[in-house]
């Protein structure tokens, strides 16, 4: 089975990434709408009077915490969406059999940056959740896997930069 070109493994992975990409867009929109609704109910609890909800009191009380959770989830999903978007564009170059494009270097660096930001965001969320009442769901997990991934992607970006440089050289070798 071929790794590059049309009908290859890259082509299949690009299709999977496309599906994940559109699912994430739907997810981000859904979370944004929920956060907006939660914000409205938090600012103006009287709006809930017209809605049939079983546990209204608790919803009003926990509104700000839920809003923060939804915003955190939204930002996390948006970060993953940015990573998937960059991966889709990289895989599009793999399908045409031209991976060493200078654009891919920037895309890989962006992926590394986003992985780092998402990991820091996870730490920040955990730090904030410690101070919130009745929130015990976020557990701190300090693993080296995420930071190792950041470094691997950064090294890959440099490999692609070198590949792009060699390609430019080859183009000007007569």
């Amino acid at each position: 089975m071929r790794a590059l070109g049309p009908g290859s493994v890259s082509s299949f992975l690009k299709m999977v990434l496309d599906i994940v990409h559109f699912a994430l867009i739907a997810g981000v929109i859904g979370v944004a709408l929920l956060a907006f609704a939660d914000l409205l109910f938090t600012v103006n609890p009287a709006l809930l009077d017209s809605v049939e909800i079983a546990d209204r009191g608790q919803l009003i009380e926990r509104g700000p915490v839920m809003l923060m959770g939804l915003l955190a989830a939204g930002f996390y999903m948006a970060g993953v969406l940015a990573i998937i978007g960059a991966l889709r564009r990289i895989f599009a170059t793999l399908i045409v059999g031209d991976p060493f494009r200078p654009d891919n270097v920037g895309r890989l660096r962006m992926i590394a940056l986003m992985l780092g930001i998402l990991e820091l965001g996870r730490y920040a969320l955990w730090s904030i959740s410690v101070w919130l009442p009745d929130v015990h769901h976020v557990r701190p997990t300090f693993g080296l896997t995420a930071w190792f991934s950041v470094l691997v992607v950064l090294v890959l970006a440099e490999v692609f930069r070198e590949g792009a440089r060699l390609r430019r050289e080859a183009e000007l070798t007569i």
Partner: protein
């Protein structure tokens, strides 16, 4: 660039066009233009050999080294 290719002079001396040289050597006219304008970063031995064969010259006649003026 310090290394210059004297393609124009050699072609003129032999009354040969760039298209004819491209046809004889198998190197595209576009690539010969890249060589001529000094944009090329490297030249393959096979290209050099074909050019020398068709122009009837040695590599030393085709390539010259020019010292760049100091800034």
């Amino acid at each position: 660039m310090a290394i210059r290719i004297r393609l124009d002079e050699l072609l003129m001396a032999r009354r040969m066009s760039l298209a004819e040289l491209a046809d004889r050597t198998g190197v595209s006219a576009a690539n010969l233009t890249v060589l001529k304008t000094g944009e090329a970063r490297a030249i393959r031995f096979t290209t050099l050999e074909a050019l020398c064969r068709e122009l009837g010259c040695g590599p030393g006649e085709l390539l010259t080294y020019e010292t760049e003026p100091e800034a």
